[in-house]
């Protein structure tokens, strides 16, 4: 079937054995769902726990003197404020304040670990090589897999291996042995649920995944469920909800820019972003609830009183809500909860309204 060579993650043979249906995603042949289907995988994640293969994401380690201030020159996040073992969400911005990628940064004892998107990891590496001083080592950890265990049962599963991991705070990291395998664990995820992301050497990835799948709470879930889960959780998907044409302010990501960075700037596009913080931006990302049952997909035109005021950037069906949901950008004047909109689906205006994000309450583990 393959006409183009697709990359495969270390878990590909396991997905195959589990009966996955595959889809091309960011150059990878990835499981979109298993025989149980997207709906069942989504709902199982919300009620128990699921195992996701996210090894297509890029894992990059920065090491060297001044790595923290050097990275801060590329992102608006407060990296200097991280304690060892803490992680933070931020973005690579460009001079126009647009977003080149969004990423997670974890501070290790003598290094920073980044997790970047699969589709942008090559350009991110070039960006880092161009912009970081030469004395900072940029190590693309190509021989590592990344597994996500997400859902309310994730904590008890992981705690059976190592009880202390139950008490990790959301957005912190630890080194651990799970099933006898050395892992780097963070308490984080992309589903709105409590959960862990586990970085492991590729050679041990299948062994770890198989061990996790023997746990009665855990079933495999694919990219389809990952997408519907993150949409319900109001989380951005790079290349869809955020890209080089959207600023963190427009995208509603101001929470990820620390106070010191807002004042001092010192990252690409700081002037534009600081001005938008002070004066507002012309458009804003919002949650959108169609009133009928027709999903409104990405690129759906948004109108108010017959006038185009925006566009849907992610849209589909929210299995936990049993109805269609969407996110998109609207003119700031309409970016308030309850604002009435029309979504133009198959040339027919369909009523919808702006709602606060997330669509479901998030259940991150706070200490």
């Amino acid at each position: 079937m393959d006409t183009l060579a697709s990359a495969r993650t270390p878990l590909h043979p396991l997905h195959d054995r589990l009966g996955a249906k595959f889809v091309a995603f960011a150059g990878y042949d990835m499981p979109v769902h298993y025989p149980s289907g997207v709906l069942a995988e989504h709902l199982h994640t919300r009620t128990s726990a699921s195992l996701f293969d996210v090894s297509h994401m890029g894992q990059v380690r920065l090491r060297g003197p001044g790595a923290i201030p050097a990275l801060e020159r590329l992102v608006p996040g407060d990296i200097a404020g991280l304690l060892v073992g803490q992680m933070r969400y931020t973005q690579f911005t460009n001079e126009q304040g647009g977003i080149l990628d969004d990423l997670m940064v974890t501070r290790g004892k003598d290094h920073l670990d980044l997790v970047v998107n699969a589709g942008t990891k090559r350009s991110d590496l070039e960006h880092l090589r161009d912009r970081l001083p030469g004395n900072i080592d940029i190590d693309y950890l190509e021989d590592r897999a990344l597994l996500a265990v997400q859902g309310p049962a994730a904590m008890s599963v992981i705690a059976r291996q190592l009880p202390v991991l139950a008490n990790m705070a959301f957005m912190t990291a630890a080194e651990a042995k799970l099933y006898g395998i050395a892992c780097s664990v963070t308490r984080s995820g992309y589903t709105g649920e409590d959960g862990y992301e586990i970085s492991v050497r590729s050679a041990s990835a299948i062994e770890l995944a198989e061990a996790l799948l023997t746990e009665p709470e855990i079933r495999p879930a694919g990219l389809g469920a990952r997408d519907s889960l993150r949409l319900e959780a109001g989380l951005c998907l790079y290349g869809h909800d955020i890209d080089i044409t959207t600023t963190p302010v427009e995208a509603g990501l101001l929470w990820s820019i620390g106070k010191r960075r807002r004042i001092d700037g010192g990252f690409p596009g700081a002037d534009i972003i600081k001005r938008q913080i002070a004066e507002g931006s012309p458009r804003r990302r919002v949650g959108i609830l169609p009133e009928g049952r027709a999903p409104a997909r990405e690129h759906t035109e948004i109108r108010e009183d017959g006038k185009t005021i925006g566009i849907v950037t992610s849209g589909g069906y929210g299995p936990s809500l049993g109805r269609p949901i969407a996110m998109g950008y609207v003119a700031t004047g309409s970016a308030f909860a309850g604002a009435p909109l029309d979504l133009i689906v198959r040339e027919t205006p369909r009523p919808a309204r702006v709602v606060p994000l997330p669509f479901i309450p998030t259940r991150y583990f706070r200490v």
Partner: protein, 125 residues
Amino acid sequence: MTELHYAESHEWVRLEGEIATVGISVFAQEQLGDVVYVELPAVGATVTKGNNIAVVESVKAASEIYAPVSGTVVEVNAAIVDNPGLINEQPLSEGWFFKIKISALPEVETLLDEAAYTALVGGTH
């Protein structure tokens, strides 16, 4: 069971006189995954073979359903609007979409029989 005919666009047709009952194939619903929304044509609508007249949406994507024959829509299946999962569970029976009173019976000859359709979708049925 009455023999099924198929369009290359993955609709099935069951003929009873000049009435064609139309649904989507087992293969088509497997490709779609969990169906969550259906939009059906209006009863009384005149439809032309090959034109898109209905929409079926899974969690991930929307797909169009084409008229496998020309004619007039005489009945639609409200049950799949209320419970789109029927299309996955019973695609060849309870998950039917609509019935068309055929205006040009010879068009039926252009449809595929079961064996030809199975070959088209690579023998996976």
